[in-house]
């Protein structure tokens, strides 16, 4: 896999530009989510919130071009119903381009 080009090394990405920066992202299974709010409580990036009343109370990811999600998956760990998980890691491009990474996989007991 490639390393960084000279141009990439010299480019500081604009942190709020979704064209160059890919933040982490979580997917929420609204069938399973019961809106308990544990994930929103502990999210270090303040990316999650709960909305709705009664049965429609669900967790959502905030609507921001580049959210502060770092796909730490702490939300997935605390969720009692297995309703949330990070979809991909973050990659800010340019000088901060992620290197030598592949998809998210749980621990493997070789």
């Amino acid at each position: 896999m490639a390393y960084l080009t000279i141009k990439e090394i010299l480019t500081i990405p604009t942190y709020t530009d979704p064209q160059t920066c890919r933040a982490g992202r979580v997917v929420i299974d609204h069938e399973r989510c019961n809106g308990c709010g544990d994930c929103a409580l502990i999210c270090p990036g303040a990316c999650l919130y709960v909305a709705g009343v009664g049965k429609d109370r669900k967790a959502y990811m905030i609507d921001k071009a580049v959210p502060d999600c770092m796909s730490c998956n702490d939300c997935a760990a605390i969720c009692r119903r297995g309703a949330i998980r990070a979809e991909h890691g973050y990659d800010f491009g340019g000088f901060y381009k992620a290197l030598h990474r592949a998809e998210l996989v749980p621990p493997r007991n070789f």
Partner: protein
């Protein structure tokens, strides 16, 4: 010989693989379990951790490996709620100043803040990486807490005169304590933002931050709310594997 270990976590009984042996596909042994299930805990119960338990966690740090057995660390334990709140307030103030100077989206300095940010990001690419940059904004806005309500915080100071790479030694020492704490039923969170306390004369004096010591990290310690620990998915990393004169790539 084949003894099965059991433990209880969150009211559920679990069994572990054996210690000090391996066969393919075996269950996680207790050490692996603690390593793999450790998550940063960001919501703590009000209950104070017993003094003896904190002392026990600190013992795990004392026996960490370090280059040349230099042990380049010093611990400061703070269990004073008012003091921790005040520290949090101070760090938030510092973050607000940084946000004012560097956050080009909200700063009244306008284009100047963009230029400042571009300059400082190049000078401090680690401290101002997009993730901590976002965290500065969140702390300034009060959306991210510093100690997350932990009743005990262990500050780790590094002796700058340590052998070779004292930063690494301090990290190993901290991880020892973190893993010990989780295995004892506690929750922890690394707090790097405490480094901003070095700008406060009061904190420098109270935490003993002066040459040859540098405040590196803090570990928040307490009983977690809910069950934050658990195994999750993480990125695979590309690994180069040289064997038999040839290189292959594994993940």
């Amino acid at each position: 010989m084949a003894r099965t270990l059991t433990g209880e976590k969150g009211g559920r009984k679990t069994s572990f693989g054996e210690m000090y042996t391996w066969h393919e596909g075996m269950d996680w042994n207790p050490v692996e379990r603690v390593i793999l299930e450790r998550r940063s805990v960001r919501k703590y119960r009000d209950e104070q951790v017993p003094e003896k338990l904190v002392r026990r966690v600190l013992e795990a740090g004392r026996f960490a490996p370090s280059a040349g057995n230099a042990q380049p660390w010093r611990f400061v334990v703070v269990r004073d709620r008012d003091m921790l709140d005040e520290m949090e307030k101070y760090v938030r103030l510092r973050c607000r100043i940084l946000k004012f100077m560097l956050d080009w989206e909200s700063s009244p300095l306008g284009r100047l803040s963009w230029l400042l940010a571009q300059t400082y990001i190049r000078l401090m690419p680690n401290e101002l990486h997009p993730i901590p940059f976002g965290a500065i904004r969140l702390i300034a806005d009060g959306k991210l807490k510093l100690f997350h309500g932990a009743p005990t915080v262990i500050f780790i100071l590094m002796d700058k005169r340590g052998v070779s790479k004292p930063q690494v030694d301090v990290g190993i020492c901290g991880q020892n304590m973190v893993l010990a704490a989780h295995s004892l039923g506690l929750g922890t969170c690394w707090v790097g933002f405490v480094e901003l306390l070095k700008f406060g004369r009061k904190w420098k004096k109270m935490l003993g931050i002066r040459w040859p010591y540098r405040l590196m990290e803090a570990i928040a310690l307490g009983y977690p709310v809910g069950q934050p620990d658990g195994m999750v998915a993480r990125e695979l990393h590309e690994i180069d594997w040289w064997e038999g004169g040839r290189k292959r790539t594994v993940f």
